[in-house]
């Protein structure tokens, strides 16, 4: 906002009264009501500095005048102008507002405020004030001109916004006709097998790239898919299996892991270090979202803290805790699909803009959008209910519908709940759950799943997998809970 210039106000003893000579004011300025001849003197001094373009001193003496007479609209207005000249637009706005508070009929105040708002890029607000001036002074050419100028800008901005959203609707994907692309005979590079990416293709492509050759664009367009995984919960060997089945992460094989990487499973450290490693390796094509288990409370109870302290140090755990706080809470794919670990909100009307504004570098609060993103669950019936978890809420298909409509989205993908088949489609396809920890806790016998989402159609494709063996880790304070055999 400002250019950093600061005004230092110092308290001075009142001056002795000096007999005042008549001071002539500029035409339209009001005369001061009473008292504070000293204030007037100070104001005159400030005006002089202003004329000489010594804005710092002008501000200084307007401020002193205000100390003696704090309910003078002119002083505020003049100081506001001085601030404008020194590009302190925030202070200018504050002073203009104060001037109008003191005297709502003070036309110059509206001018000042409008100018400040223009400088701050708040054109709609500026337009309102210009409107006021024009209404009160219909013959003021300058006022009319400023109003028209401002109006033009406001209209231009609205137009830009409108066409911007139109443009994102028409993505490149829609204009591609991949089906009818042909691959030339002399292309010797890797080709998709049946239009599908296979491990063989991946390996060939990686080698092809290694030789600095180019993949045919037909294949390049069609590798525009992302794999979304749900909870992995320290099940490192099952994570390795996902990479075996679906390929290692790379810039052409992007992944999104939707939270709950640690706790419960006894190999949480291995999981999280692997995921962080890939994040560093492919920052634009490997994404991690925060789950409710990327928090101190859960880590303390469900094993991750114990595991880190056992394998490393308490300080290491502190570091994980800090990093977890920076994990993003949600991700939007192609402006159509929103992914978060938990679900939607305890109240209607939450927008994507609201989510962007969340200050996430913290432990989640007990309620509110940040809490809901990590904790809520869908329910089959309409409306909302108290969550069976005791935190956040359960939300029905109507809530999903309204949220998607308001934010111009197609569906949400979330995780957070174990599902026998590894995934579940609810709310008429608008709410999808994906869970990637098979045989959860070595007990549940569930399948894991991951989703392929192609940019071309954004139709989710589900892939299921079962648990693989893992080492019989020697029971430790954190791992022991997962080797429970039930109630013997």
């Amino acid at each position: 906002m400002t250019n950093g210039k600061k005004l230092h106000l110092t308290l001075r003893p009142l001056r002795q009264s000096i007999p005042m000579a008549h001071i002539s004011e500029n035409g339209s300025e009001k005369k001061m009501a009473e008292g504070g001849n000293d204030a007037e003197l100070l104001k005159e001094k400030a005006n002089k500095y202003f004329k000489e373009k010594d804005y710092e001193n002008a501000i200084k003496y307007y401020s002193e005048a205000l100390e003696l007479n704090p309910s003078n609209a002119i002083y505020y207005s003049n100081r506001s102008l001085a601030y404008l000249r020194t590009e302190c637009y925030g202070y200018a706005l504050a002073d203009a507002t104060k001037a109008l508070e003191v005297d709502k009929n003070y036309i110059k105040g509206y001018y000042r405020r409008a100018t400040s708002n223009m400088a701050l890029g708040k054109f709609k607000a500026a337009l309102k004030d210009y409107e006021t001036v024009v209404r009160v002074r219909p013959n003021d050419k300058d006022a009319r001109m400023k109003y028209q100028e401002c109006n033009k800008i406001v209209k231009q901005k609205a137009f830009e916004r409108a066409i911007a959203s139109d443009e994102t609707k028409k993505s490149v994907v829609d204009s591609l006709d991949i089906e009818n692309m042909t691959i030339e005979d002399d292309y010797t590079g890797p080709k998709l097998e049946d239009g599908k990416v296979t491990l063989k293709f991946m390996k060939e492509m990686m080698d092809w790239f290694k030789d600095q050759k180019k993949l045919h664009r037909k294949c390049a367009y069609q590798t525009e898919k992302i794999t979304i995984c749900g909870d992995t919960h320290g099940q490192y060997y099952d994570l390795l299996n996902i990479f075996k089945l679906n390929g290692l992460p790379s810039d052409t094989n992007p992944y999104l892991f939707n939270g709950d990487f640690v706790d419960r499973g006894s190999f949480s450290v291995e999981v999280i270090l692997t995921l962080f490693g890939f994040k560093l390796l492919y920052p634009n094509n490997f994404h991690l979202l925060r789950g409710n288990h990327e928090t101190d409370n859960m880590n303390q109870m469900y094993g991750f803290e114990g595991e880190v302290k056992a394998k490393y140090t308490a300080q290491m755990f502190q570091l994980f805790s800090e990093v977890f706080q920076w994990l993003p809470l949600a991700q939007c794919i192609n402006n159509k699909v929103l992914v978060m670990h938990g679900g939607l909100f305890s109240e209607d009307g939450v927008t994507l803009e609201d989510l962007r504004k969340i200050d996430r570098n913290r432990q989640p609060p007990d309620s509110g959008p940040m809490c809901d993103l990590l904790w809520s669950d869908p329910q089959p019936q309409n409306g909302r209910s108290i969550s069976k978890r005791g935190v956040s809420c359960q939300f029905g298909p109507d809530v999903t519908e309204r949220f998607l409509e308001q934010n111009k989205l197609d569906f949400i993908v979330r995780s957070h709940e174990v599902k026998a088949e590894g995934y579940e489609v609810t709310h008429s396809g608008k709410c999808i759950t994906v869970f990637s920890a098979p045989n959860y806790c070595d007990q549940m016998g569930n399948k894991g799943a991951y989703i392929h989402l192609r940019g071309s159609d954004l139709k989710p494709e589900f892939h299921q997998f079962t648990a693989v063996p893992h080492p019989n880790v020697k029971p430790m304070a954190y791992a022991n809970t997962l080797m429970q055999l039930g109630m013997m």
């Binding site: 997962l482 429970q484 109630m487």
Partner: protein, 348 residues
């Protein structure tokens, strides 16, 4: 099955058979139960001031669903047991089959709810261990001594007998030996008797368990048999549990009877019991006094309710009765919901 009572240490050691390994694994489950109860009580799920004398250390943290599961088990079984004791005005016997390191006798003594005699039966090595603990820990031995009429208790390596408490080393698969031992220690078939088995029958073959429950029906004319163990085992969760236990050489030889609540009931109806009921632990959990349930749920936050649900749905309490003295067992108030619920009769 193995004969009760070991040969002297000087005799030639017999080679370890498969049965030996299986039995050893079964005995080890006694430790699982005890350590889980030790942890849960240390967290305040229920009070048991005696378990610390059987296992000193609180041990590793257990998952919240495990603690809640044990809470449901202990509350459910105790409700039934206590109801029987009150109904018979303690003029009865209790036999805890496969008792392990259970502390019920001491609880009943504290609560003035002791039956005429409390019997415990388990493998000789388990019993030897328990006797050792009793002998060396005054809080355990005092209540027994206090309730005994003379100065000395009858005590050997695998049994301890007092007026009100008796613990016997025996193999539950050897019925004649079991019967002989119990009668030697003054088991009275004329008294209303409660038999209790918690995760016991599932470790023996259906034929062995059938013999056991049949013997009970034949021996006592007025009795209740409470059986707590697995149920609904034919699904994925059940399969995984069986596999997990197998990896510890622990075979659920009697899992056939654990397919459904009906199969649990059938084993009693087919062996001479008159009425039988069974509830899965999910149902029991919902019928326990809900203010106390709310209290324990606040002890530890459970992150995935589905884990508890699956666990509870795969265990059950089944209780069978025969009631020659017409004590009113047919209308037995289960008292699981403070008297609101009366169990339904299921007759042949």
């Amino acid at each position: 099955g193995r004969a009760a009572g070991r040969e002297s240490p000087m005799a030639a050691r017999q080679p370890f058979t498969d049965t030996d390994t299986a039995d050893e694994a079964v005995r080890a489950t006694c430790d699982d139960a005890t350590t889980c109860k030790r942890f849960a009580t240390s967290k305040g799920y229920w009070k048991d001031p005696y378990i610390q004398y059987f296992v000193r250390s609180v041990g590793d943290r257990k998952a919240p669903e495990i603690n809640r599961g044990y809470y449901a088990r202990v509350q459910g079984v105790n409700h039934l047991l206590d109801a029987f004791l009150r109904k018979t005005q303690c003029d009865c016997q209790v036999i805890n089959l496969g008792a392990g390191l259970d502390t019920t006798f001491w609880r009943l003594k504290d609560e003035n709810l002791m039956p005429r005699k409390f019997f415990e039966v388990d493998f000789p090595t388990v019993v030897a261990r328990k006797i050792h603990n009793i002998k060396t820990k005054p809080p355990l031995s005092k209540p027994i001594i206090e309730t005994h009429s003379t100065d000395s208790l009858l005590l050997d390596a695998h049994s301890l007998e007092s007026d009100r408490y008796c613990i016997i080393g025996a193999d539950l698969r050897d019925i004649s030996s079991l019967d002989e031992k119990l009668k030697k220690f003054q088991l009275n078939p004329e008294l209303p008797t409660l038999l209790l088995s918690e995760c016991v029958l599932v470790y023996m073959t259906p034929s062995h368990s059938s013999n056991l429950v049949h013997w009970a029906a034949e021996t006592f004319h007025t009795a209740m048999f409470i059986n707590y163990e697995q149920v609904n085992m034919s699904d994925r969760f059940g399969q995984v549990m069986i596999e997990n236990l197998q990896r510890r050489q622990c075979t659920l030889a009697g899992v056939e009877a654990c397919q459904t609540l009906d199969s649990q009931k059938d084993r009693f109806l087919k062996t001479g019991w008159e009425h039988v009921d069974a509830l899965d632990m999910m149902t029991v959990y919902s019928m326990l006094p809900q203010d106390d349930v709310a209290r324990i749920e606040r002890l530890e936050f459970l992150d995935e309710k589905e884990l508890l649900q699956q666990l509870l749905q795969h265990y059950n309490i089944c209780w069978a009765t025969k009631d020659k003295l017409n004590l009113g067992n047919a209308h037995f108030n289960v008292s699981l919901m403070n008297g609101y619920v009366s169990c339904e009769r299921t007759s042949k």
